[in-house]
Symmetry: C2
Subunit: 206 residues, 2 copies
């Protein structure tokens, strides 16, 4: 083994990008198992040889799909907060509500079928699947985010109150994504935002 092996990294050529774009759209809209590699290659205008030269396996494309979407969401959120909050003077309340606003904007454009992580988890049963940590990692990251923001708001000593509030915000947000994807009622993320606002208003009296 003279050369350094790097079986992990994908060389992101132009064709690879088109493949990933097609896969992201198809996986999200139709589900992972319902989409074959032949269809992905065809939609990307690429031969299967190229697809396997770049990614090596379908499983790999799935992992890349989920990590890519997660990264784009986090970048979208960071930019949204930058654009809509005065970093120095924004209140803790405003920060929390801005997350819901960002999620609403994201979902309106890219989230017609709800959360891609939840949907992927429905299709992946094996916890040893390489996509599993991506899915759970995204949820843990969101929970940590809400908990941190809740800590800024609640300002208690032990942090248990921040945990409680963070988890409640997480549930409201997660429920809103599901309700959005399933069209349970109109604009559920806006409703979640309003209820988060009311929750923060009355929080210290619980």
């Amino acid at each position: 083994m003279g050369t350094t092996e790097q079986p992990q990294r994908v060389t992101m050529t132009r064709a690879a990008r088109r493949i990933l774009e097609a896969a992201e759209r198809l996986f999200y809209e139709r589900g992972i198992h319902a989409v074959g590699v032949d269809l992905i290659a065809a939609e990307a205008g690429v031969t299967k040889k190229t697809l396997y030269d770049r990614f090596g396996s379908k499983e790999r494309i799935v992992v890349e799909y989920l990590t890519g979407r997660d990264e784009r969401w986090r970048a979208f959120l960071a930019r949204y907060l930058d654009d809509h909050l005065d970093a120095a003077h924004a209140t803790p309340e405003a920060r929390v509500l801005a997350v819901f606003d960002a999620s609403r904007a994201w979902s309106a454009e890219y989230g017609a079928k709800g959360c891609s992580m939840v949907n992927a988890h429905a299709e992946i049963s094996d916890p040893a699947h390489p996509a599993f940590p991506v899915i759970t990692g995204q949820k843990q990251w969101m929970l940590a985010l809400f908990t941190r923001l809740a800590g800024d708001f609640a300002g208690d000593v032990a942090g248990t109150d921040a945990d409680r509030l963070g988890r409640t915000l997480m549930l409201l947000h997660e429920g809103a994504l599901v309700a959005h994807g399933l069209r349970v009622f109109p604009d559920p993320i806006a409703h979640a935002r309003d209820q988060a606002e009311a929750l923060l208003r009355t929080w210290h009296s619980t």
Copy 2:
């Protein structure tokens, strides 16, 4: 066409029941597209001929799986409320919280991977699929249930307040099911219950 056609109804023989039981378990644990009819037949200890004689198609088994699970959940809930509430004297608060308690008990036993409707929706893209109304119907039923209970609690004139509260309870509950399936944090349904309790306590001051 002398005989009355009834292509809808499935004759529920003993073999059909075993097929459905196997399908329910496999579909829920591994996903719908990941499970083939050969596997279902094998797990049920039945030949494929019998499977197709009873159900006619895999799609039909999927519909029967979802409707069956929905019916069982509603029966479970009704029985739970009967057993844990004094029908005549239970307060509106207690009724709402009992729904969360029932959901927690159900999920502990049958809901390790979250909501089967949400998971099925992740795999079914076509709104014309016969399973679609089953999925959306279950969510609408739950929303109507929460809204009705919220109406008993809020007791306003126009019902808009009941709608608001019902939707919030729906989001909390839906989020808890997702968090439970993804193991985002321990016992999210109990947390949702506690937060619903706090929400009802402070509701009239919003």
